[in-house]
């Protein structure tokens, strides 16, 4: 736990007046407020610091204590303990680490430094939910195969189990709103919503772009030259392909409907594009070399 320089955070002098503090806070809040910086974690953290600095410096009592003990805050804590009984129990109620609040009030998160000086209940003033509940956000990390078919999953958010269907074809980075599953509202206000952001890992074999899949398949020299059958993997099982004679390297073949499911369009699939990677033989035997030399001569003679 480190000392936090609240004056520095608000970019003001120690001699700043209440009006200076208010103006500095508003100026920085306008820059970093999460409402104005959607999906920006750095801005959110910065805003929390600004909020905390303002919480301390705009309150004459808190500011006095902060100024008095400043960097000696550890002793301040001991001193204060002698005077008042502080409940130091921090609620650590097992919320999953991937869940957090988003939108709405941001005044709830204070640093350990703040809490050690003012207690865990000192922040937030009157910023509790007054009406609509706070939105919650969660990140769900899945593999490509997890979203190949729609599946039901139960998530635990703030101790409540939420059963949801993850539709096939969800995109990496896509956000799904689960209405009413955020924090409860107050005074008859509606609950907040739960926002789930999907992070989908790359597949080792198949690359995805929307509902199309791309894969590279090795093709041996002789099949490429003379044509033949080739078995290739799709997400749906193996498929037999007819390779045309004299197939060039990097030729692309489209397998219609063998791609990824189209989001929210049941039974509709994108295409799978196979790129042939012609593999040249290595470790040639003497006999192979002789035959290839013969072949090259045939070519050189214009055949």
């Amino acid at each position: 736990m480190e000392f936090i320089d609240y004056y520095n955070i608000l970019e003001i002098q120690k001699t700043a007046t209440e009006a200076d503090i208010k103006a500095a806070y508003r100026k920085l809040a306008r820059k970093y407020h999460p409402d104005l910086n959607p999906n920006d974690e750095n801005a959110k953290k910065k805003f929390q610091q600004i909020n905390e600095a303002n919480e301390v410096l705009s309150d004459p009592e808190k500011r006095k204590k902060y100024d008095k003990y400043g960097k000696d805050w550890k002793h301040a804590d001991e001193f204060e303990k002698a005077n008042q009984q502080q409940s130091q129990s921090r609620s650590n109620d097992g919320g999953q680490q991937s869940y957090g609040s988003s939108g709405g009030d941001f005044s709830g998160d204070f640093s350990e430094f703040f809490e050690s000086m003012y207690g865990s209940g000192a922040g937030g003033r009157s910023k509790q939910t007054k009406f609509r509940g706070q939105d919650l956000s969660a990140e769900l990390h899945l593999n490509l195969m997890d979203v190949y078919k729609s599946q039901q999953q139960t998530l635990t958010v703030n101790g409540k189990n939420i059963r949801l269907t993850i539709p096939a074809g969800v995109e990496n980075g896509q956000v799904i709103k689960i209405a009413g599953h955020g924090a409860p509202g107050a005074n008859g206000g509606p609950n907040g919503d739960l926002y789930i952001t999907f992070t989908i890992a790359n597949h080792p074999k198949f690359k995805r772009e929307g509902s199309n899949l791309y894969a590279t398949v090795d093709l041996d020299l002789y099949t490429a030259l003379l044509g033949g059958d080739l078995q290739v993997d799709t997400l749906d099982g193996k498929v037999k392909l007819k390779v045309a004679p004299e197939t060039q390297g990097n030729t692309k073949v489209k397998l219609k409907g063998k791609g990824f499911p189209v989001y929210k369009k049941e039974g509709e699939f994108g295409d799978l594009y196979i790129t042939y990677n012609v593999k040249l033989p290595t470790n040639l035997t003497e006999k192979e070399k002789e035959s290839l030399t013969e072949l090259s001569k045939l070519r050189a003679n214009g055949n």
Partner: protein
């Protein structure tokens, strides 16, 4: 079923301790839609996120209506660009791992 999704503006304002004129101004600027039923004014529940956001801009950050109007347009633009960015990043993933 429909009225359950409507929030009485008076109730909303009382809970947040804000003046009704603020909601009126938002409506005048075309930022929200107010629904009138039996002489009572309502907001649609799915508008609350935006209304509360604009409320914070006004009361916490001291931004006037013109500013809120501009910011709302820019936030829509940011949202659109962020979606575009995700699509573009997903396209770039096609080339990850290739030489």
């Amino acid at each position: 079923m429909e009225t359950r999704d409507l929030i009485l503006i008076e109730h909303f304002c009382n809970n947040h301790g804000i003046e009704f004129s603020f909601i009126d101004s938002l409506q005048t600027f075309g930022l929200i839609e107010v629904i009138i039923q039996e002489e009572q004014k309502y907001l649609q529940q799915d508008q609350l996120i935006e209304v509360e956001k604009m409320m914070r801009m006004h009361y916490d950050l001291d931004i006037n209506m013109e500013g809120i109007d501009v910011i709302s347009h820019l936030l829509k633009r940011i949202n659109y660009l962020q979606q575009e960015l995700i699509v573009t990043q997903n396209k770039l993933r096609l080339f990850v791992g290739e030489d």
